[in-house]
């Protein structure tokens, strides 16, 4: 496979950043923020997420629920866009 040929690449940057990209900025609290719960559509994951919704609501977060069509593929772009424009943070569950 061509992928194997490409397995090691040389860094084109000044190498001042760590090898890994940084995560984006986090809010200090979830209170008053909207948290998206993304169900990957595996059995029982919804029950896990139901309870997370309760716990998040207790902490003052607004919860929005989303379901992606299949756990086997990335969420469709429209769904990702909707979540990214409606939520301040997202929790995706549950792969087993």
């Amino acid at each position: 496979m061509t992928q194997n040929l490409n397995a090691v690449m040389l860094d084109p940057t000044a190498e001042t950043q760590p090898e890994q990209r940084p995560l984006c900025d986090r809010p200090s609290t979830l209170q008053g923020l909207t948290v998206g719960l993304l169900d990957i559509s595996k059995p029982r994951g919804n029950v896990f997420l139901d309870h997370l919704e309760t716990l998040l609501s207790d902490q003052g977060a607004e919860v929005r629920r989303y379901v992606k069509p299949t756990f086997a593929k990335p969420a469709p772009v429209d769904l990702r866009h909707e979540i990214a424009t409606s939520c301040h943070a997202v929790i995706e569950a549950l792969a087993d």
């Binding site: 496979m1 992928q3 194997n4 040929l5 490409n6 397995a7 090691v8 690449m9 040389l10 860094d11 084109p12 940057t13 000044a14 190498e15 001042t16 090898e19 990209r21």
Partner: protein
């Protein structure tokens, strides 16, 4: 080679991995494997750890090796690499002021004109669609330089690059001048026709200058002057340079009538004397303009040497092109020509 190695898991697509890391200009790049970078390094006699230039905006020393990694990513062949290195040197000068070119909200990016026998040797295009796409060397040399500025120098759009509009040539804008009976851009800068050179110019996108009816040089030069008056802004004089790309058919109007380059420039410059009363603040109901203190003066559109003339393009078509520049002089960017070291 000393660059950090980045492992990509065997099942991951390396092209996607390069996007995810923010190391592309929006188009896919070629994964810079050791084998490819080694091959690129064969394109130069310079040692991999030689410092080519200090790259803005972060002022990072760019080694030959780092340049080679980015040249691989851009899609260059090893024989293009000396051109890439010289183009990088040209923009990383006080004279060119790449930091300013990046940071300005105006639309400019580095544009490279290549002269000399190397253009044919590496298969550059100076003919049909010369300012467009489709030729590997033209498309990747400028791109390699822009990737170095982005990846190594830290100058990415939305970060230090603050262009309001930009233009697609910022993806990498490089072309060869076609030889003609006139002296070339490089010869005007004191080089010989046998020397290989890169001229870097901070420019916006090209604009067509249409004239299909002029049969005399006197008529065509007037039409060209008419178009050039509005370069960047019809209200701007001397502060901005421009590149005029004369097509073969337009050029032949002058050559056939016995005009050489200096005659052409003299005639053109006379036609580009602007009546300041027409462009001062408030003239003709327009608030934009030069200070009213200039009223009554006659001013040249371009400073001496501020109009760069290049010959290129397909053999059929009575069009030329204007590439407007950015602020010139100490506060802006001046064109830089450098000889390519093979």
């Amino acid at each position: 080679m000393q660059a950090r190695r980045i492992d990509v898991a065997a099942l991951e697509d390396p092209v996607e991995a390069l996007f995810d890391r923010g190391w592309t200009d929006g188009l896919p790049v070629v994964p810079p494997t050791e084998a490819r970078v080694l091959r690129m390094l064969e394109g130069t006699t310079r040692s991999p750890q030689d410092v080519v230039a200090v790259v803005p905006p972060d002022l990072v020393e760019c080694t030959v090796e780092k340049a080679a990694i980015n040249a691989v990513m851009a899609g260059c062949l090893p024989e293009y690499f000396p051109v890439v290195l010289t183009a990088l040197e040209a923009i990383c000068t006080d004279q060119f002021n790449m930091h300013g070119v990046l940071a300005t909200t105006m639309s400019v990016g580095p544009i490279f004109v290549i002269n000399g026998p190397i253009t044919e040797r590496i298969g550059m295009n100076s003919g049909v669609n010369v300012l467009g796409h489709g030729n590997r060397a033209n498309s990747t040399i400028g791109r390699a330089v822009q990737l170095i500025v982005r990846n190594l120098g830290g100058g990415a759009p939305g970060g230090i690059d603050r262009a309001t509009l930009g233009h697609m040539g910022k993806q990498g804008f490089c072309f060869a001048e076609a030889p003609s009976a006139w002296t070339s851009l490089a010869q005007e800068e004191g080089f010989t026709a046998q020397q290989n050179t890169v001229t870097a110019f901070a420019g916006e996108g090209p604009r067509l200058l249409f004239d299909q009816q002029s049969r005399s040089p006197e008529s065509l030069v007037r039409m060209l002057a008419d178009g050039l008056r509005s370069t960047v802004s019809s209200r701007m004089v001397m502060g901005i340079d421009a590149m005029l790309v004369l097509s073969p058919e337009h050029l032949s109007r002058f050559i056939d009538a016995g005009w050489d380059r200096s005659r052409f420039l003299t005639e053109l410059s006379e036609l580009l004397i602007i009546d300041a009363d027409d462009i001062i603040v408030g003239a003709h109901g327009i608030d934009e303009g030069i200070p009213t203190g200039f009223a009554g003066l006659q001013l040249p559109k371009f400073r001496p040497g501020g109009l760069l003339i290049v010959h290129a393009g397909g053999s059929a078509g009575l069009f030329s092109a204007i590439i407007g520049g950015w602020v010139n002089g100490n506060t802006g960017s001046d064109p830089v020509t450098k000889e390519i070291q093979l």
